[in-house]
Symmetry: C2
Subunit: 147 residues, 2 copies
């Protein structure tokens, strides 16, 4: 998908994504990569606020599933059920969230369950990178519901 | 603490809290209660964005620990290490995050460890309420570091 188009969708449909300064750097079936500037996301220690890191990771995983399931002809709802974030290191600069496609077996099971039951869950992972290292990791459980 | 003062601190030190529309409704040793309007936090389904719920919960727990540890004379860093959020129901209106003081034994252990080792961890819980029900629950592990 055109990153510009996805970015417009994120900004118009999830206004906080604009406040985070979220930009879409890559948007494809292999991965979604979103970037954000430190400046809009500072905390009391002049590093990135944990809620901003969490929000960007949630958006990256949601966007990956949105693109991947759209390409399968799915146009229902995608909702987060659970999200867990490990904050590994302070983020002292601009940062990005990368969500990569899950394993083929997990993805195939998700697709088949969604077709059969009109509802399926999948666990997605994303990482926050900043300054050349992984600063946080995210695991989110999303559910897709047809109709 | 004066809720207005805490709110000013949040807005000036963590600018995203202002973008979320976070307001401090109650700020004390028993609980911190933050509110936010749906309007600034919409997602693609016209309910609240998961990242906004997560951010408000992270702020509420951080603010509680900040107030409680300040009252003990602690003025070091407070950092989130891990956060997990269960999204139970869609949030279709304004919402609030409530963090209550943990159990006395946990709090005492945290205080004593912090005094002895200049570093201590504590698990805090917060709940997102909207429309009279609990819409999400949060558990966060925070570390306080002296100096």
């Amino acid at each position: 998908m055109d990153p510009v188009l996805l970015e417009e969708q994120l900004h118009s449909r999830i206004p906080l994504s604009r406040q985070l300064g979220a930009r879409v750097a890559e948007a494809g079936m292999d991965l979604v990569r979103l970037t954000a500037p430190l400046e809009l996301n500072l905390n009391h220690r002049d590093t990135a606020f944990g809620g901003s890191l969490s929000s960007l990771a949630i958006l990256a995983a949601w966007a990956w599933l949105y693109l991947a399931s759209s390409s399968e002809g799915f146009h229902g709802r995608i909702v987060i059920q659970h999200g867990a974030m490990d904050y590994i290191a302070p983020v002292a600069g601009d940062f990005e969230a990368v969500c990569r496609r899950p394993g083929t077996a997990e993805w195939n099971e998700f697709r088949e369950t969604l077709k059969r039951r009109k509802r399926a869950r999948i666990e997605l992972r994303a990482a926050i990178h900043s300054g050349g290292r992984v600063a946080a990791t995210f695991a989110g459980r999303y559910v897709a519901l047809d109709g």
